[in-house]
Symmetry: C2
DNA sequence: TTGTGTGAAATTATAGATAATTTCTTTATT
DNA sequence: AATAAAGAAATTATCTATAATTTCACACAA
C-alpha cells in the first residue's frame, strides 16, 4: 500500500470508499466532517477534499451547506451501471485485444479459477474485478479505464448490498468463453459475450432492517 | 445563473473550467492556489476543493506536494474521448428514443439550424452541445448523462484549441439525418448515424507558439 | 393529534496561521 | 562553460479559529 505517499485526503477517501462499497456505512447516512476528522486525527480540511473525491466517484452526494451523505441506489441505477459497463468494456476490449499476450490470458484464466473457488462474495468480487482489469488494461486508454474502475466500484457496492454474507460457488462459463474466443483471435465474439455478461443482473431475496423480505439486485459479472 | 446558491468552491471550479476549455489557460500551466485565492478574494481552502472538481472532470492533474496543472492532451486522447462519446451517446439515445416528443425534436432542429448559422466556434459548439443534450436527456440516466457532459467539456476544449478563431459555416447533414430517423421511429438508424457522427475527427493546421505549423485535431460532432 | 415556532446544539464553510516541501537562484567547483 | 551544492523564496498541505447555516428537541397553539 502506497498510502504513505498519498496525501491525507486521498488516504481518507480510499478508506471511506472501502466502507461505503462494503456496506459498512449505510446508503443515505450522513458523513460528518468533524467526526471523520477526529477518527483520522486530522482537521476537516483534508476530509472535505476526500468528500469531493467520493462525490466524483458517485459514492456520495453533497448538498451545499447541508453536508454529505452516502449515495443511495435503486434497481434503476444498477441497470444504468450495467449498461454503461457493457458499452465501455466492449469498447475497451476491442482496443485491448490486439495487445493481449498469452501471459495475460493465462493470468485471466487464473483469476477465473480463483473466482470459481471463492466461498465468499468479497473474494469472488476481487477475482472478478481482476479478470476484467487484466483483459481491458492493454487498451491503453486511461480515461476509459478510470471510468470503468468507478463503475466497478459501484457494481461491487450493489453486490455486497445484496449478497451480504451468503455466497454459492459457481462456475463462470462466460469468462471461459471470452478467453477462448480471445485465444482464437475472435475479438467480435469475445466482445459480444462480454457485453451480455456484464449486463446479467442477479436477483436475490434479502431481509430488510424491518424484518420484511424484498428482492435485491446486483450485477454478477 | 444560480451562482449565489453555489458554494464558493463550485463557483471557482466553474470559472476555471470555462477558462481551461476556452483555452484562456494553456495546457500544462500551473494553477497556484494562492494566486487563484487572491483573484477570487477567498482563502485557499475553497480553491483546493475547486481543484479536486477539475481533477475529476479530467481538466486538471494534481501531483501531491507539487501542485495542480492544466491537463494537456494529444491526438490519442481526442480519439479516446470520441470513442467514449460514441459508445455512451448511442446507449443514451436508445433509452431516450421512446421518450422523445415532437416538441423536443423541433427544439433539436432549431439547435441544428443555429449551429449551421454560427459564424464562430463558440456559438457553434454551444448549439451542437444543445442538440446532443436535447435528444439524450430523456434517457433518464443521471450517471450516464453526467459522464457524457464531462466528455463534451473535453471535446469543446479540443475544438477551441484547434479552431482558435477561424470557423467556416457548414450544414450539419448528420444532425438532420438523425432527427429524420427519430421522427420515423427508426431508432437503430439514428443510433448508427450518431455513433459515426461523434467519431468524426476534424483536422486543421495551426500555428504553434514557436511559429511552426502542425496539425490539430478535434471532434466536430 | 398535527402543525408551527423558537432557541440551543451541531455542523458546514471559510479565513488566517504554521509547518513542510519543492522550486528557483546564486555561488562555488571542476 | 558546465555541473553541483547551498541557501532563499515560493508554494503546498495542514491545523486552529471563527462565522454562518442547518438540524433537532421541545414547547405551545390550532
Amino acid at each position: 500500500m502506497a498510502s504513505t505517499e498519498d496525501t491525507i485526503a486521498v488516504r481518507i477517501s480510499k478508506e471511506l470508499a472501502d466502507r461505503i462499497i462494503s456496506g459498512a456505512i449505510e446508503p443515505g447516512s450522513r458523513l460528518r466532517q468533524d467526526h471523520v476528522a477526529e477518527e483520522f486525527n486530522t482537521s476537516h480540511v483534508p476530509v472535505r477534499e476526500a468528500f469531493r473525491r467520493l462525490e466524483a466517484q458517485g459514492l456520495a452526494i453533497s448538498e451545499p451547506r447541508r453536508g454529505v451523505r452516502v449515495a443511495s441506489f435503486d434497481l434503476g441505477e444498477v441497470r444504468e451501471v450495467a449498461e454503461m459497463r457493457a458499452a465501455l468494456e466492449v469498447l475497451a476490449l476491442r482496443h485491448a485485444a490486439p495487445h493481449l499476450t498469452a501471459s495475460i490470458l493465462d493470468q485471466a484464466d487464473e483469476a477465473t479459477k480463483a473466482g470459481d473457488k471463492s466461498r465468499d462474495v468479497r473474494s469472488w468480487e476481487e477475482a472478478n474485478r481482476t479478470f476484467h482489469r487484466l483483459i481491458l488494461a492493454p487498451c491503453n486508454m486511461p480515461r476509459l479505464l478510470s471510468t470503468i474502475d468507478d463503475l466497478h466500484a459501484a457494481s461491487a457496492r450493489f453486490l455486497f448490498a445484496a449478497w451480504r454474507s451468503e455466497w454459492e460457488t459457481r462456475t463462470d462459463q462466460d469468462h471461459r468463453a471470452i478467453l477462448s474466443a480471445l485465444r482464437q483471435g475472435n475479438t467480435e465474439s469475445a466482445a459480444t459475450t462480454l457485453g451480455r455478461h456484464v449486463q446479467w443482473i442477479g436477483q436475490k431475496p434479502v431481509k430488510t432492517a424491518s424484518g420484511r423480505t424484498r428482492d435485491a439486485f446486483a450485477i454478477v459479472g
